[in-house]
């Protein structure tokens, strides 16, 4: 059994067949972390004692034959902006270097109650500000496929740890592409759910109207299994839809004959790297082979996405980071890193009197136009497919001195957050030299995750990219 290929399904099967105990599986992952994470640096905190304690308790249940919990004995790790009671949570920032939260957030608690084993807290860009992982105050996580390359961000550790087989699943957040970008750079499945599907309570807020709470898995099935646990109203997040879906695996294996897939023409422009374009075109052919109807569509306001995003997001960030005043907890504000300071200054400016109308208000108005682009398009097609990044993963340091260049890597991901729609990033192949993953994203109308899983599953089973694992 290759641990790097373990999924939720295969682990649960192993428990049913009594192939191993929860403690066995947990130790396996902890050992791998010890072996590889000094290089990969995906974890900020490893909770070994805690994990073994959880495993022991679950093994009691295993002995009694009770393995009914939906994620029984599944190890997992959380992006370090998910608040975990009694366990160091840092946001990968020096401001919270030794912060111990007083409560568990909704997603943390639901996953805990579903039977998971907490392995630790994962590295990310500090405060989730970044597209490469290089903004972590504790040193960046590395891409397991080639450690000279960035794994993508901001959920850098979350993506890299699943890719490297240091955990079968991990949590992440996507505000402007922070799940989809690292997923596409690491050959993992990254889900950005609809805004308002999964509770943000207990996740450190970055941009309140854009943050989406999702996760990384090796397969589409695993992604749906996790969403079954995390989604739904909780009484603590006022922006959640009150209805609850019954089962995200429903219809997943139906196939996609007759499904209309739109390709936004603005997303496949000249500016894409050759191999990214190539892999996307191959993917389109695969979808056609599977029986989907491909339609060209237009999202005319795509060009305004970065401008709108980089006004709304820093504005909300500047307000959300105000509570880190060093009085009740945490270190002084002088401990903020450069990117955080940049965004606080930008956001304070765009909200300030005399500029509010020209920036924030204007951006919110254009936001409505972007939302309308998607609403109109989804009247013509069932879902959209597009690349996630216009480029391949880049080398460490390549964009660090040019924040604006870094921001432009979000060009294909941000309008999804602006509109609040869901998007699933799935593996779509590799570049040749060096071998680096390339992903594609499948976008749908609000709350259409079931359809995204259906489309993603068909593509995954046809291409089997998920079976490839990096050599560590």
């Amino acid at each position: 059994m290759n641990i790097q290929q373990l999924t939720i399904e295969s682990i649960l099967e192993g428990y049913r067949n009594k192939d191993f105990s929860v403690t066995d599986v947990t130790k396996m992952y902890l050992d791998r972390i010890k072996q590889y994470d000094a290089t990969l640096h995906t974890f900020n905190t490893v909770t070994e004692e805690h994990a073994l304690h959880d495993a022991k308790r679950l093994d009691q249940m295993l002995t009694n034959g009770d393995i009914s919990l939906p994620l029984f004995g599944i190890p997992l790790a959380h992006k370090d902006i998910f608040v975990t009671k009694g366990i160091r949570t840092t946001a990968s920032s020096n401001v919270l270097d030794d912060y111990i939260p007083q409560y568990d957030g909704t997603v943390v608690s639901r996953l805990k109650n579903a039977g998971t084993v907490l392995l630790g807290k994962l590295n990310c860009d500090a405060w989730a500000h970044g597209s490469s992982g290089e903004n972590s105050d504790f040193g960046p996580a590395k891409n397991p496929w080639n450690t000279e390359y960035i794994p993508g961000g901001s959920s850098s550790g979350s993506a890299a740890s699943v890719a490297a087989g240091l955990t079968p699943v991990s949590s992440g957040t996507d505000t402007g592409g922070s799940i989809r970008l690292p997923a596409s750079f690491t050959n993992t499945v990254g889900l950005k759910p609809t805004y308002g599907l999964v509770s943000r309570y207990g996740v450190m807020a970055m941009a309140s109207s854009l943050d989406s709470i999702g996760h990384f898995t090796k397969t589409v099935t695993d992604s749906a299994l996790l969403l079954n646990v995390t989604a739904g109203p909780d009484g603590f997040d006022s922006t959640l839809r009150q209805e609850k879906e019954n089962d995200y695996l429903e219809n997943m294996k139906k196939g996609i004959k007759g499904i209309k897939l739109g390709i936004p023409k603005e997303y496949v422009s000249e500016g894409m790297e050759k191999e990214v374009k190539q892999k996307f075109e191959e993917a389109v052919k695969k979808f056609e082979k599977l029986g989907a109807e491909i339609v060209e569509v237009s999202l005319p306001h795509t060009d305004y996405g970065i401008a709108v995003y980089y006004i709304i997001q820093p504005s909300e960030v500047s307000s959300n980071l105000a509570r880190y005043d060093g009085i009740r907890f945490g270190n002084p504000r002088s401990s903020f890193g450069d990117e955080a300071k940049r965004r606080i200054m930008l956001g304070t400016f765009t909200l300030s009197s005399g500029y509010y109308d020209a920036y924030y208000k204007k951006a919110m108005q254009v936001r409505t136009l972007i939302i309308k682009d998607y609403t109109n398009t989804f009247e013509k097609v069932d879902a959209l497919i597009a690349p996630v990044s216009p480029t391949l993963p880049w080398k460490f340091g390549a964009k660090v001195d040019n924040p604006l260049a870094m921001y432009l890597s979000d060009a294909l991901t941000v309008t999804i957050n602006i509109a609040g729609i869901p998007s699933l990033s799935v593996p779509a192949g590799f570049s040749s030299n060096p071998k680096l993953p390339i992903g594609i994203q499948i976008m749908g109308p609000h709350f259409s995750e079931k359809k995204l899983f259906q489309i993603g599953y068909a593509f995954e089973q046809e291409t089997n990219y998920y079976m490839e694992v990096p050599e560590l």
């Binding site: 807020a205 307000s319 509570r323 300030s352």
Partner: protein
């Protein structure tokens, strides 16, 4: 030089809901141990999110309705961003562009004249924690208590229609009555659940438009001090203006020990709060029928009730005003009036009795009160064979009083009459008096 005082008031009313504005913590913080009514939300901890207290908003709307405001059926919260140790999130969740209530008015009576004070806005927000500066072990410290953080506050802003300390007091008294009638707050300035800041400036005679400055005064915690602070400012500002100076636009603190206002900080540049709509709370929509339902829950208010008592019960305004100061007393009075109808006891009689005899409405139910009045009004001539022994007993039980009376303190007869009446409530005071006088001759 003659000046007209221009005053606008900003009042904060703390609501008496069970829980706070955005979390389930108890809102009842008065006297509680510090930092015991807190949670991640009202402490502004990482990851916390607000959930709105519907009752608080309904109470805010009722206050707005009681102040004759137009109601925004589509409204939302906004973030007011600033840094202060007692503000854990670094922003206060408040309202800016579309407050729940706007463009209302309150009529007040000052020296028998009715005056209309405009209400600019009535909006919903949350309270901050409490910051206390003190010395602990010889060290100057600031202590923070977050029990009050997140408690619902309604902010009421008036137009600059008030022109004296007396008018300000009349307005505040009426507002306090209204809020108490609604049952939404104790509105007790000493307890801090009603706070106010007057903005004061002086307009030169003949000058049109508002003066080119205004002074905000903080730290006033009673109606009496409002009047004093305004008077102090009137003097201070007039002196400056007489000297050809324009008073500085600033915030001043009322010092109740020195009876003066002291400059606190310059208000030259209005603080930029960078307001933007609160993304964590979806906009709030009320249907017309919901608004009507809330309006129907607004009881008859003090002014209307007072006027009705004058017209319906032929009471003098002075009496009606006393009876309507508290809704519970007014209700008690009217219950007694209803009962009185069956026993030929008039509203005027009941009013007099309540006002003059300090009735304990908790101990005496309205029906009992009516009975007492009826008895008192019946001039029953008691047979002297019944009356005299009782009086003689009273006299023998109170030898000192009798001595005082005989010594010239004739007013003590009142005590003796009272003691007699305790045992013979139906007896006429006049008859008792004359009997005592003749016995003590």
């Amino acid at each position: 030089m003659n000046y007209t005082t221009i005053i606008g008031l900003e009042i904060h009313v703390e609501l008496n809901t069970n829980t706070k504005m955005f979390c389930r913590c108890s809102a009842n913080h008065f006297g509680a141990e510090p930092n015991t009514n807190t949670c991640p939300v009202c402490l502004g901890l990482p990851g916390a999110l607000p959930v709105t207290n519907k009752k608080a908003i309904e109470n805010c709307i009722k206050i707005a309705q009681a102040l004759n405001c137009s109601i925004n059926t589509d409204s939302w919260f906004e973030r007011k961003n600033y840094f202060y140790p007692d503000l854990p999130k670094g922003f206060q969740t408040s309202q800016y562009l579309n407050p729940f209530g706007f463009k209302g008015y309150l009529d007040i009576k000052v020296k028998d004249e009715t005056k209309r004070i405009g209400i600019t806005r009535v909006h919903m927000e949350e309270d901050t924690g409490k910051n206390t500066h003190t010395t602990v072990d010889g060290e100057k410290v600031s202590l923070l208590d977050f029990n009050r953080s997140g408690v619902p506050l309604v902010e009421i802003v008036t137009e600059p229609d008030i022109h004296s300390g007396e008018e300000a007091k009349a307005f505040l008294t009426e507002l306090q009555k209204i809020v108490r009638y609604l049952g939404v707050s104790d509105a007790d300035m000493e307890k801090g659940n009603m706070r106010l800041e007057p903005n004061i400036s002086l307009q030169k005679e003949g000058e049109k438009g508002l003066p080119p400055y205004k002074v905000e005064v903080k730290n006033i915690n009673s109606f009496r001090f409002v009047d004093k602070a305004i008077q102090f400012e009137e003097k201070r500002q007039a002196e400056l203006l007489n000297n050809g100076e324009i008073p500085a636009q600033e915030t001043r603190g009322w010092n109740e020990n020195k009876n003066e206002t002291v400059s606190q900080r310059s208000k030259e540049e209005a603080h930029d709060y960078r307001y933007f709509p609160e993304p964590d709370i979806p906009p709030i929509h009320f249907t017309d029928s919901e608004i009507n339902e809330l309006q129907s829950q607004v009881p008859e208010l003090p002014i209307a009730k007072t006027d009705r008592y004058v017209n319906e019960y032929a009471l003098p305004y002075y009496d009606a005003e006393i009876l309507t100061r508290e809704k519970s007393l007014a209700d008690y009075f009217e219950d007694a009036v209803q009962d009185g109808k069956k026993h030929d006891v008039t509203p005027k009689q009941i009013a007099n009795y309540i006002i003059n005899k300090k009735v304990d409405s908790e101990k005496t139910v309205p029906a009992e009160l009516v009975t007492m009045i009826k008895q008192a009004s019946q001039k029953v001539t008691v047979d002297s064979s019944t009356l005299t022994p009782i009086i003689e007993k009273v006299l023998s039980e109170n030898p000192k009083v009798v001595e005082d009376y005989k010594g010239g303190k004739v007013q003590v007869i009142g005590f003796l009459i009272g003691q007699t009446k305790k045992q013979l409530p139906e007896a006429d005071a006049g008859q008792i008096k004359s009997t005592i006088e003749s016995l003590l001759k």
